[in-house]
């Protein structure tokens, strides 16, 4: 860790080999697309390397790397146009019933996924991590650099906006 903090490229490569799958999975949870997650993982490690001097070994590499990865994913979500996020592959998956709950109709799944892409990125990240990936609010708060209350509010707002969007399309409980 100390060698990495001093900019040693070999130490960085060793850390990369050890942590790339973890960082990849974390980004994938946010962006929901494997190809994009791979690109963003490389981007995250590049940012990690550039920030090596700010690394605090006492706080551990993984939480620090996850925090940087979360911000890389969030930047990507902010830069994307909402309508371009529902790829034909994802739509086909949802329609085919790959989703976890077969009790929910395919059409509702597709419309929900579409409506979700229309939410503001910071609400989406909080909702996807806390609700879909079932991460503790404390973990999400730490990664986003906000309080637990703020995470709860973001999740609440995301679900409320999502419900309103679906209601406008005639989808109700």
């Amino acid at each position: 860790m100390d060698r990495f903090r001093h900019g040693d490229a070999d130490a960085f490569e060793a850390l990369f080999r050890e942590q790339q799958a973890t960082v990849f999975r974390w980004i994938l949870r946010i962006v929901r697309d494997a190809g994009t997650a791979e690109d963003l993982t490389a981007e995250a490690f590049w940012r990690i390397y550039r920030a090596h001097a700010r690394f605090d070994a006492a706080r551990g590499f993984e939480p620090w790397a996850r925090r940087i990865a979360t911000h890389v994913a969030l930047d990507w979500l902010r830069a994307r146009k909402p309508e371009s996020e529902m790829t034909p592959e994802l739509e086909a998956k949802l329609t085919a019933g790959v989703a976890s709950n077969p009790g929910v109709q395919a059409e509702i799944r597709v419309k929900t996924a579409e409506a979700f892409t229309r939410l503001p990125p910071k609400l989406r990240v909080a909702a996807v991590l806390a609700v879909v990936e079932e991460q503790p609010h404390r973990v999400v708060a730490e990664l986003l650099g906000i309080t637990v209350t703020a995470v709860k509010l973001r999740v609440f707002r995301a679900l409320r906006l999502l419900r309103k969007d679906l209601e406008q399309q005639g989808i109700r409980p």
Binding site: A34, W46, L94, R109, A113, V132, T149, L153, L159, L166
Partner: protein
Amino acid sequence: MTEMKRNLNHESERMPESEWIKDVLKAAMPRIAEDAEPSRDLWPDVLRRMDREPVRVPWFDWALAGGLVALAAAFPTAIPVFLYYL
């Protein structure tokens, strides 16, 4: 913020509806597998980014260079003296 908290409490009272939207969201966006891995080695991508990094010149280097050019323009006879001390 207080109003939002009040809404939050109100929302928890409407539990079935709140649970419904969570269920719908979970159905639309399945959880990512715990063993998901990248399909290829990403190290070459990281190296490419590291190689591409532009050389950054600090602002004070630019200021120093600008000052020297201005000095040379104002006092051309000082150029040989400056070169002597380089």
